[in-house]
């Protein structure tokens, strides 16, 4: 499903049909139908645009209320003092459909085959709402459903640390996709029993880079890392 397409486009996959047509007057119509409901849009463009379908940061559905993603690991990971390692886990996939003209992209649709759920990290007064995803080492192989997140963890403390939850700022997420998988990478530095720095990094794996949807949310004073201050469990 992922890729860059010319119009007209008629794509049927995983129970949904995407149709993009252009009539003689230059009016382009976009339609999606199938198991995820129906969406229809009209696009006005003098030139013939292209359609790009790719995974996007998974915080848009059913409505964008947060930019944070919480991943709960199926099995708790115990990290030794001053130790480091890699945790392979997953993240929910949301699929964006963009209309592209030269280097300018505009989102026309976003959908997902995953169940959306949200959770609170921290206190009711000063915590943050996160898109919640529970994932284990055995990832869902369907790249339309779950992406692969490689998390490099480093324990700077002299204690054993148990990690169950990771909270990430999705506006910094860098997603790549290929024939085999949807992939992203992040690193986590544990500073104390309850505090850690988490940030996405540029994926080492090759693949096509996804279009960033959340870049407009990034403000000048924005931090590139998220500080987890309420623990990892």
């Amino acid at each position: 499903m992922y890729g860059c397409y010319d119009i007209p486009l008629n794509l049927t996959e995983a129970g949904i049909e995407i149709k993009v047509e252009r009539d003689q007057t230059g009016k382009t119509t976009y339609g999606r139908s199938g198991i995820l409901g129906e969406v229809s849009k009209t696009i006005v463009s003098r030139e013939n645009p292209k359609v790009v379908i790719c995974p996007v940061e998974p915080v848009n559905l059913p409505k964008r209320i947060t930019r944070y993603l919480m991943i709960e690991l199926d099995k708790e990971v115990l990290l030794g003092p001053k130790d480091e390692g890699t945790i392979d886990t997953g993240f929910p996939v949301e699929i964006g459909v963009f209309i592209a003209k030269r280097d300018k992209y505009s989102l026309i649709d976003v959908f997902s085959f995953t169940k959306q759920k949200f959770s609170l990290y921290g206190g009711v007064r000063d915590g943050i709402i996160c898109r919640y995803w529970r994932s284990g080492p055995n990832l869902n192989k369907d790249k339309l459903v779950e992406g692969h997140l490689r998390l490099q963890v480093k324990n700077d403390t002299s204690d054993w640390i148990e990690i169950r939850k990771v909270v990430l700022d999705a506006s910094e997420m860098k997603i790549v996709y290929s024939e085999d998988e949807v992939y992203s990478e992040a690193e986590m530095k544990i500073l104390s029993r309850k505090v850690g720095e988490v940030r996405f990094r540029k994926p080492a794996n090759g693949g096509t880079e996804s279009i960033k949807l959340l870049k407009e949310m990034v403000v000048t004073a924005h931090q590139s890392k998220f500080i987890m201050e309420d623990g990892f469990k």
């Binding site: 209320i65 947060t66 169940k115 919640y132």
Partner: protein, 262 residues
């Protein structure tokens, strides 16, 4: 020359004109400065803090310009300290409520029990805080009307701030005594788990709360993100009702069994 004519003491019309023009210029400069500050810091500072900063800049510029013009009016700024003290006492007696509101406003700005955009309730006024001014607080009530509350009243009243990241709401649903409460609990939990905005953590609570006259009362406590909590509250009750109906669980009407003796 008219400008050298004395108005009072050594103050000439020229001095009065100079002071007036300086004050007018200071207002214009203060306005321009606050517009510039607002534009450049809009994305970097919270709206509430930006408004406070703008007010400080605005009144600071005017006050500074005014203090510079004082010698032209024949007033020594240092003598104002003493005069200010006496004046303060006079103003304090003359305008008790204004001073009261002003001081309360200062304390509200320092204590910050609410921020612009917060959902609050003060006495019988509920709504969204639009502005915290020096003398009053402006609240946009939920029916769209604008309510100005004197700061003294805000400061002395019980203020409930509903603003938080997540908000809880409760339902109480009665099921028939002949139905299985555990089954009802599972049906309700499924509905809650299916809804994306019912938070997984804090988890919803469903429990038998009391045994009523006509029904077994089940309490449901749900947390939802503040931005959408009312939509969630509106949607869920009917979904729960439908799910209970589909599973054959009855929500009984109040009933009274009357037994007649022969």
């Amino acid at each position: 020359m008219i400008s050298s004519e004395r108005v009072f003491g050594n103050v000439t019309i020229g001095d009065v004109l100079f002071v007036t023009i300086t004050l007018l210029l200071s207002v214009i400069v203060a306005k321009m400065l606050t517009i510039r500050v607002r534009r450049s810091l809009k994305d970097k500072i919270e709206r509430e803090n930006l408004e406070i900063l703008n007010k400080v800049i605005y009144y600071g510029v005017i006050l500074f310009a005014f203090s510079l013009t004082l010698p032209r009016l024949g007033i020594n700024p240092s003598s104002l300290l003493l005069a200010g003290g006496i004046l303060g006492i006079i103003i304090g007696f003359a305008s008790k409520s204004v001073v009261g509101n002003f001081i309360s406003g200062m304390f509200l700005i320092l204590e910050r029990p609410m921020r612009i955009g917060d959902s609050i309730s003060i006495d019988d006024v509920s709504g969204i805080v639009e502005d915290v001014r020096i003398l009053s607080t402006v609240v946009r009530s939920y029916d769209g009307s604008c309510v100005r509350i004197p700061n003294e009243k805000v400061f002395n009243s019980v203020l409930t701030n509903y603003t938080s990241v997540a908000r809880r709401f409760d339902y109480r649903i009665g099921i028939s005594y002949s139905d299985d409460a555990e089954k009802a609990r599972k049906v309700i939990l499924e509905v809650l788990e299916d809804h994306p905005f019912v938070l997984g953590d804090p988890a919803p609570q469903i429990f038998v709360d009391s045994l009523g006259d006509s029904s077994v009362e089940i309490s449901i406590r749900i947390w939802a993100p503040s931005q959408v909590w009312f939509d969630v509250k509106r949607e869920l009750l009917w979904k729960i009702k439908k799910a209970l109906d589909e599973n054959g669980i009855e929500i009984p009407f109040p009933q009274l069994d009357v037994k007649l003796k022969d």
